[in-house]
């Protein structure tokens, strides 16, 4: 009987010793995440979009204006952001036979939001139903857009020079800036 008790005690002792054996080690993983944002045109997949050609061939083109196809842009950002738009100059550059060169103001060129999947809101006076003139100063286009991958929005342009300008080619750059909040 004493032997049985002694053996049991030894086994318990051994089990107790086994349950207490452990070895821990830890390692810290650090991810250095910077603020990242990228704005590109879907068509070109670069930050430079294809040239938008607006041709005026008839009097109705002058009277009614000419509109472009939708121009889609894509934003990838790890933080919420805004999108602003402006032109590179206050007037179009002119190439043609008239001298001195006519000064066509960039207000001739207007923009409308054709679609918006950024989660952000369209900032007035821009809208999804009417065109609003562009200017050489930054104008907020979209606000509080949500962070994410490949968030899309599209714009389209309308130029209405009326009958005030002679034949020729008028160009201006439209600059978009997406800025994290």
């Amino acid at each position: 009987m004493k032997k049985i008790i002694a053996l049991t005690a030894t086994l318990l002792c051994s089990l107790g010793s086994f349950a207490q054996q452990s070895s821990n080690s830890s390692q810290t993983v650090s991810m250095g995440v910077s603020s990242t944002i990228e704005l590109t045109f879907s068509g070109s997949t670069t930050a430079t979009g294809a040239t938008v050609n607006l041709n005026f061939n008839t009097v109705n083109d002058y009277a009614n204006g000419v509109t472009s196809a939708n121009q889609e842009l894509k934003v990838t950002s790890n933080r919420n952001y805004t999108v602003a738009v402006k032109t590179s100059s206050a007037t179009f550059s002119y190439s043609g036979a008239t001298s001195p060169a006519p000064a066509m103001p960039v207000g001739i060129l207007a923009l409308m939001i054709a679609s918006n999947s950024t989660g952000g809101t369209i900032v007035s006076p821009f809208s999804a139903t009417t065109y609003n003139s562009l200017s050489n100063s930054n104008q907020m286009l979209l606000n509080t857009c949500t962070a994410g991958n490949a968030k899309l929005f599209a714009v389209k342009y309308k130029a209405t020079p009326d009958f005030a300008y002679p034949a020729g080619t008028y160009t201006v750059d439209v600059l978009y800036t997406a800025t994290q909040l």
Binding site: F41, A47, F163, T171, V172
Partner: protein
């Protein structure tokens, strides 16, 4: 300076540095730019059209000698020019003589230059009426016609108004005489 003061100064310094760092971080919000060129290609364009219901056939009916001798005037006819450049307006007839339709074989030739005249009654083109137009009734000719208005301004609603006077003359044989009047707007 005691130890408590030193600690307080350090705390303030750390707070200020923290605020500066925070503002710096705010100023450095990441942004990305994209650019697209908008190109407007404008070609010269001009259009001349009748407006306000004008442009249809004008019918003059003569029932007595007085009407044949004195002629008859039409209602006013409004025209509109849309042009992106300055322009001029000329008028001509499609034929030198009226085209006759009837049974007579004599006295059925009426020169348009004497049988049909035109007058500018209103001018909202910004242009200058030529001397011919200023003289009043103007006989119509074929070919390049006669310039009525010149140096008219570009615009989308440049209007002018004319009326006609048709005078067959007492010798005109019975029948129907027709001609087309052609207005031409040309950019300058």
């Amino acid at each position: 300076m005691n130890k408590q003061t030193n600690t307080l100064i350090k705390a303030i310094a750390i707070f200020i540095l923290g605020m500066v760092a925070a503002f710096s971080a705010k100023a450095q919000n990441a942004s990305s730019n994209a650019v697209q060129t908008a190109k407007l290609d404008l070609s010269d364009a001009i259009e001349l059209s009748f407006i306000n219901g004008a442009g249809g056939t004008l019918n003059f009916t003569y029932n007595n000698a007085t009407e044949l001798i004195n002629g008859k005037e039409s209602t006013t006819q409004d025209l509109r020019v849309r042009s992106n450049k300055k322009f001029k307006v000329a008028v001509s007839s499609s034929t030198a003589n009226f085209t006759y339709s009837g049974t007579s074989i004599v006295n059925n030739i009426i020169p348009v230059s004497t049988g049909l005249q035109v007058m500018v009654t209103a001018n909202n083109t910004g242009g200058i009426p030529t001397l011919s137009a200023l003289l009043g009734w103007l006989g119509l000719t074929i070919g390049g016609g006669t310039t009525l208005l010149t140096y008219c301004n570009p615009g989308g609603n440049q209007t002018f108004t004319v009326k006609y006077k048709a005078t067959p003359g007492i010798l005109a044989a019975p029948g129907t005489y027709t001609t087309d009047v052609v207005f031409t707007a040309t950019q300058m």
